[in-house]
Amino acid sequence: MANTKAIDKKTVEHVARLARVNLSAQEIGIYKKQLADILEYINKLGKVDVKNTLPTSHPIGKMKNVFRKDNMKKSLPVEDVLRNAPNKKDSLFIVPKIIG
């Protein structure tokens, strides 16, 4: 398919970083191969002529305004909001500092 290129080690590393997962050298090798196989299969799509075809983002194309009224609803109790928090203080979530 146009505009695509074979997946290399650097690409896998870049994508893993974007997706926030660490990969070992061995994993990079495995994923590189597997992703390449999958992409090669996927490249089949290049054969389909879609010049005059509009994309489908939703299968059931009944376009209809889907709105809610601007009405306030009850929020969750703060205890429920924080119940699953790995770390918290008072009513706040605690996360590690951004850079460091």
């Binding site: 970083r17 974007l18 926030r20 983002s57 939703h58 376009m63 209809k64 305004n65 889907v66 709105f67 809610r68 009224k69 601007d70 009405n71 306030m72 609803k73 009850k74 929020s75 969750l76 703060v78 909001v81 924080l82 770390n87 203080k89 008072d90 009513s91 706040l92 979530f93 605690i94 996360v95 590690p96 500092k97 951004i98 850079i99 460091g100």
Partner: protein, 478 residues
């Protein structure tokens, strides 16, 4: 030395004045207990789904029409993917390649002339939560109350060429938004935020220079100061033969300079794609026409009308129309006291200072148009002096009593009775022999002193005209 042209584009983010958030029913109120205005949707809990707030959408369309934008036929939302702890889903629901409106314009008056600043795009998105950092402990605290509040992003073309024009653009934008009642534009609470792109180029050059993105400007003054600083910084660099880095810089208000943000480790790749949880929809043309027809008179039009209908000065008209509250107050007062010039003087003078000191808008005070009209009528009929009026005004602000009532309660009514005034003047003349003699000897200033003494004794209530006449007569002046 070469002359440089500054090129500025502004990106304003405005909280829309909806009761509930953009995609869920949580309150948008500011200052609540942290995380108390959150639900599975705005917390981005697994399984939750967004549903668009109709009012947020209508406000966005209203704003876009007031900015003379074209409205997109098909409205769709996209996901902007990036990791940040204030972004619960690690993507923001926004609009990418098809902003809901585009190609608008905002008029500004700069010193010399009127200018049109093109609006590139207007789009709807959700706000992020708030992070508070505690550097010593190496942690940040997250409050998601703001997460999901409807945010309108209004992006100008790089048509602005001075910090003053940038400020004028924002002032006008704010005026329009407040007229539309779609945002309170409170910069302190973050309901109006502004980033700027700024570059400089040698005068006459066609190509744009390398730009810096400025952030963290929390007032109009900060925008002006930051842009002035940054323009000078860039010009100095170029003049010294150096290159400008494309980077994000933060305005440091305390130190009065911009500082390069530590460059993010990652190259930005937002991986935009259509938000599959929201269905694209078309906007009914009739609905747009209906919103168009219901737009209120906007500041520019109102200003023109004030000049022609009320013969106020261009300057007065501009300031009066900057806020709908003030212009409404102005016109309501005229209905019962038909002297626009006097009303304008009070509104732009004493009343404006009182509002500034209290940091409130006129609609939120106890002062009503009827009060101002009544007070001006009392000055006009010489029941009180202008000076007394200045004392009465803050009282009205505080307790909402009518000026007549305050004057009655405090006994502030002017003393117009010649007999009463004559006896006071006699006393003053007696006590101030030197000044009396000075006046008689031709020192005109002495009269002012004596008038002052009478005013002191009457606590400012003496009718100045009558007082002057009696005093002059008694002193036998020339």
């Amino acid at each position: 030395m070469k002359n440089y042209e500054v090129v500025i584009g502004l990106e304003a983010h405005v909280h829309l004045l909806t009761e509930s958030k953009a995609f869920c029913g949580c309150s948008t109120k500011f200052g609540l207990e942290p995380n108390s205005s959150t639900c599975p949707v705005c917390l981005g809990l697994p399984g939750s789904l967004p549903v668009l707030n109709e009012k947020a959408f209508l406000y966005a369309i209203k704003t876009a029409l007031a900015l003379h934008c074209k409205i997109q036929n098909l409205i769709k939302f996209d996901r902007k993917n990036y990791y940040y702890p204030d972004l619960p889903k690690n993507y923001q629901i926004s609009q990418y390649d098809m902003p809901l409106a585009y190609d608008g314009v905002i008029e500004i008056e700069s010193q010399e002339s009127k200018k049109k600043i093109r609006v590139k795009r207007v789009h709807l998105e959700e706000d992020a939560g708030k992070l508070m950092h505690e550097a010593e402990k190496g942690v940040s605290y997250v409050d998601f109350n703001r997460a999901g509040v409807a945010l309108l992003e209004i992006v100008s073309e790089p048509d602005i060429h001075s910090p003053e024009d940038a400020s004028a653009y924002l002032v006008n934008l704010k005026a329009i938004l407040k007229y539309l009642k779609v945002s309170d534009c409170n910069m302190e609470e973050g309901s109006l935020r502004c980033d700027a792109n700024i570059s400089v180029r040698p005068e006459g050059a066609k190509a744009l220079g390398v730009k810096a993105e400025l952030k963290n400007m929390n007032s109009f003054k900060a925008v002006r100061d930051a842009l002035s600083y940054e323009a000078k910084r860039q010009i100095d660099l170029l003049a010294a033969g150096e290159k400008i880095q494309q980077e994000t810089r933060l305005w440091n208000e305390a130190r009065g300079l911009t500082i390069a943000m530590r460059s993010k480790e990652d190259t930005q790749d937002y991986r935009y794609f259509p938000e599959p949880d929201l269905v694209p929809f078309t906007v009914d043309k009739n609905k747009i026409d209906q919103i168009m027809r219901s737009l209120p008179e906007l500041p520019q039009a109102k200003k023109k009308r004030f000049i022609s209908d009320y013969s106020v000065s261009e300057y007065d008209a501009r300031v009066l129309t900057r806020e709908a509250d003030v212009s409404d107050f102005f016109e309501a007062t005229i209905k019962t006291y038909n002297n626009p010039k006097e009303i304008a003087n009070w509104l732009l003078g004493d009343i404006a200072s009182l509002l500034n000191a209290r940091k409130v808008s006129i609609a939120k005070t106890k002062l009503k148009p009827g009060h101002l009209a009544e007070m001006l009528e009392m000055i006009h009929s010489e029941e009180i002096s202008g000076k007394i009026a200045k004392e009465v005004l803050p009282e009205v602000f505080e307790n909402g009593l009518s000026p007549k009532e305050i004057v009655r309660q405090k006994g502030l009514k002017q003393i117009k009775d010649s007999g009463e005034l004559t006896s006071i003047i006699e006393l003053v003349i007696k006590e101030n022999e030197k000044s009396t003699n000075d006046y008689k000897a031709g020192k005109k200033n002495a009269l002012m002193f004596l008038v002052g003494q009478v005013m002191k004794k009457t606590k400012g209530k003496a009718n100045p005209k009558i007082l002057n006449n009696i005093l002059k007569n008694m002193l036998g002046g020339k």
